[in-house]
Symmetry: C2
Subunit: 147 residues, 2 copies
């Protein structure tokens, strides 16, 4: 395994574990993969989610509570560029499940992640998750797209 592919494998594991934490609604596990001062551009407003640590854990738990049972959180086509202690990656995530009000969700989103190696462990320093919007005057979020 080359140095580069070894770094990519390390970072892929962080992405997998974070996805598992979200699937399991384990906010403590999901937050553990973020750097202390991570900058998050989320699906929901505001432009930037400034929560970190326990506040981020709370906001994740609030979101988890809107779903019945586990959350489908399938990552696909992640590409990673890494060097030593800085990396970025991008790919798609399929979020599926049933909300507490009975609404079924099945949504593909794009995700970009920035990583820093801190005390020997890769942490998510930046997370940008979004869908595009239709520029037909409707300003509707494009929640019906597939990669």
């Amino acid at each position: 395994m080359t140095r580069t592919s070894s770094l990519e494998a390390e970072i892929s594991k962080v992405i997998e574990r974070q996805a598992q934490g979200i699937h399991d609604k384990d906010a403590k596990a999901a937050v553990s993969h973020y750097a202390a001062n991570a900058v998050i551009f989320d699906l929901a407003p505001p432009l930037r989610n400034a929560s970190t640590g326990p506040a981020l854990e709370q906001s994740l738990n609030d979101w988890f509570a809107t779903w019945q049972g586990p959350i489908g959180y399938e990552t696909r086509d992640f590409s990673i560029t890494a060097n030593d202690d800085v990396a970025f990656g991008h790919g798609f995530v399929r979020i599926t499940g049933t909300k507490v009000d009975g609404e079924h969700n099945d949504l593909w989103v794009r995700q970009s992640l920035g990583f820093r190696k801190i005390n020997g462990a890769w942490k998510i320093a930046h997370d940008h998750t979004s869908v595009p919007f239709y520029m037909d005057g409707s300003y509707k979020a494009a929640v019906d797209l597939k990669p």
Copy 2:
């Protein structure tokens, strides 16, 4: 200037030049800052804009043609993390101007950029630009937010 702040300065210049290219509606200049195989997650569908090179230049020119005069493209609060030949950055962009149909636009977006140093020059290998959407059942793009 430390090695890190020197890298950040180099990358800031690329961000500024790319913004200038968009302001000036100079598609060739704007595209010149992208790596050949750049992956773009754009404001408009699809989830991933697969255009590169001349096709990307054409899609930029098509977008430029929807605006009267120059496009306001003000970058703010960009934070850059760099090491040797890999970097990522994130911040906000205010897009302002008048569309050809007379509609005035004034929109803040979030932007995440991944960079690789290729043949001694920093190139944008990944660009993710978006707004969040309202999770109040309207699925409206949040085009009225400020950083």
